[in-house]
């Protein structure tokens, strides 16, 4: 790997936002394409962050700062990607379901998905089913539903039923996650997949779109 790309990769692993920006600018100045920066440094670095999280070498603060550094680098690369016609691998609308105000897990998933090359529409917290329906109408091909409480989990099912009722179930894959959520629950309510953490959510979304 090119030395500058190695530096970008390392800056993201260390959560060093300033270094990530500096190195991405250096890469651009050196004529490295946006696509190469994204696919050779930014996405692999976030993939490695996800692995470290799964191995309990990284925890939420480390993951968040890495994602912040990746995002800072991505902001520089985005105009180049647009000019080159490189499209995001998918468009994900993500939100914490109605009645639930928790946002850290949802934010982490959003960041990891962004780091995996997806475009993110963050619908926020306490999101009504209709908002997810609207997001699909706007082109989202993955819906990410988050819930931290057993009392709000049923609103995942309510949201899926609303998407079905709108005749849009075939237009988007639906993935769910959150502390009380299980793979069994995902099957039960008709979701396409469940991820136990943010890193695996990114892998799940990628694999669902490749099916």
């Amino acid at each position: 790997m090119n030395e500058i790309l190695k530096n970008i990769y390392q800056a993201i692993l260390e959560g060093d936002m300033d270094a990530a920006q500096t190195e991405v600018r250096a890469a651009v100045d050196a004529g490295i394409t946006g696509g190469e920066i994204l696919n050779t440094a930014l996405i692999p670095a976030m993939g490695q962050v996800g692995c470290l999280f799964e191995k309990e070498e990284y925890f939420v603060p480390e993951m968040l700062t890495a994602a912040r550094a990746m995002k800072a680098g991505l902001e520089i690369v985005k105009p180049l990607l647009a000019n080159s016609g490189l499209e995001p691998v998918g468009k994900v609308a993500i939100g914490t379901v109605k009645g639930d105000l928790h946002d850290i897990g949802k934010n982490l998933v959003g960041m990891m998905l962004e780091g995996a090359g997806f475009a993110i529409i963050d619908l926020g917290i306490d999101v009504a089913p209709e908002k997810f329906v609207e997001a699909i109408k706007s082109g989202a091909n993955i819906i990410g539903l988050s819930a931290l409480l057993t009392t709000t989990m049923p609103n995942m099912e309510t949201t899926i039923r609303a998407i079905e009722a709108a005749g849009l179930r075939g237009n988007a894959k639906i993935i769910i996650g959150g502390a009380p959520v299980t793979a069994e629950y995902a099957r039960q309510i008709g979701a396409d997949g469940f991820a136990p953490d943010a890193s695996q959510a990114a892998n799940l979304a990628t694999s669902l779109l490749s099916q």
């Binding site: 925890f59 939420v60 105000l101 934010n107 009380p180």
Partner: protein
């Protein structure tokens, strides 16, 4: 004052057993089995909120306490259970005492949360005691009213003050504080040290209201001591590494343990198990409460963890079904446990004979006896 189904002799009995349990001298578990008879809805003419912050701040304290009286009168106490009032202002009302916004709602469901009252740079954030804070005055007023009404007949809890990082997160926002831990750890150190001192001050001021009037102390979960007890917590710890826990949380817990006679820690969810070794290393921490968390198997399915807690020299509180308690006593012995029995359905233990039969079975099956 309404009748409480608990006599002075009952208190003497429970005190004797509980203090022996704290001392490690009780050869059986403590079993907290409190059963409330069905109460006709007409007995509650006005809404009964779980969070006392959902009552208007100008509502007379006595009127609020009156609402809970049918509940107290309908409750029967078996085993080592005791009458107890949890003055619930949400998870970490100390943030409200220090000026964070308190959001208390009861529709569509009851909840309380805290948020920053203004955007302040971490370096400019100073948390100070405010004797005139409305939430602090309200908690003191209600604590006093409860102690005056019930005296030594009922344990009046210290309200849920919160964990140090949980309180700080109410001023920073959770995500910002997660960044702060890596970006400006020295500032987090400064603020967590300040919060520890404030926490101890709030604890002691409530203690001066409660202990002269009541029998011992309790907190937001049914644990009691004739000295100073509290269930400490750090929900924030679920997200951080043991290294961060050691730096930002452990000094606070250690200081609180040194201040209290009988301290417990609320180990909430599998993400906190990684901190167990550090918790076991706090010599004056007396016990650990294990809460598996939403969607997880019940406590009796965590026997290796419970064994680790007991082998580490700590007492252990769990909320379990009757069957769950039986599983634990059969496999690990009951000694050192505090079982808060959660009847599986409302029809369980509706009469004293059934409750006593369960306690007898539990004793017979206890492998430590």
């Amino acid at each position: 004052m309404m009748k409480i189904n608990f006599t002075n002799e009952d208190w003497d009995r429970v005190e004797l057993a509980t203090m022996a349990w704290w001392a490690g001298e009780l050869n059986r578990p403590l079993v907290n089995l409190a059963v409330t008879d069905p109460i006709p809805p007409e007995k509650f003419s006005l809404p009964l909120h779980s969070y006392w912050s959902n009552y208007p701040l100008d509502m007379p304290a006595g009127d609020i306490i009156d609402r809970f009286e049918p509940l107290c009168a309908a409750t029967h106490f078996y085993g080592d259970a005791f009458p107890w009032h949890w003055l619930n202002f949400g998870p970490g009302i100390a943030a409200g005492f220090l000026g964070a916004n308190v959001h208390s709602v009861y529709e569509p469901s009851e909840t309380v949360w805290f948020s920053p009252s203004s955007e302040v740079h971490l370096e400019d954030l100073y948390l100070t005691y405010d004797a005139t804070n409305i939430w602090w005055l309200r908690v003191k007023e209600l604590t006093s009213a409860l102690t005056e009404r019930y005296g030594g007949n009922l344990a009046v809890s210290h309200t849920d003050l919160g964990g140090n990082l949980d309180i700080l997160a109410s001023f920073r926002g959770t995500q910002e504080l997660l960044f702060d831990l890596l970006d400006r750890p020295e500032e987090v150190d400064r603020l967590t040290r300040a919060i520890t001192q404030l926490w101890l001050r709030y604890y002691d001021e409530l203690d001066t209201i409660i202990r002269p009037a009541c029998r011992g102390t309790s907190c937001w979960t049914p644990v009691w001591s004739n000295g100073k007890t509290y269930m400490m917590q750090s929900d924030f710890a679920y997200m951080i590494s043991p290294a961060m826990f050691e730096r930002f949380v452990l000094p606070d817990l250690t200081a609180c343990c040194n201040h209290l006679d009988h301290s417990f820690y609320h180990l909430d969810g599998k993400g906190q198990i990684r901190h167990l070794d550090l918790l076991l290393s706090i010599g004056r921490l007396r016990g650990i409460q294990w809460i598996p968390g939403d969607g997880q198997p019940p406590p009796q399915e965590w026997l290796p963890l419970l064994k680790r807690i007991r082998a580490g020299g700590k007492l252990c509180q769990v909320f379990v079904s009757p069957e769950g308690a039986r599983t634990i006593v059969k496999n690990l012995g009951g000694r050192g446990f505090l079982f808060v029995i959660q009847p599986v359905s409302a029809s369980d233990f509706l009469n004293p004979e059934e409750a006593q039969a369960f306690l007898k079975t539990l004793a017979e099956e206890d492998s430590s006896l």
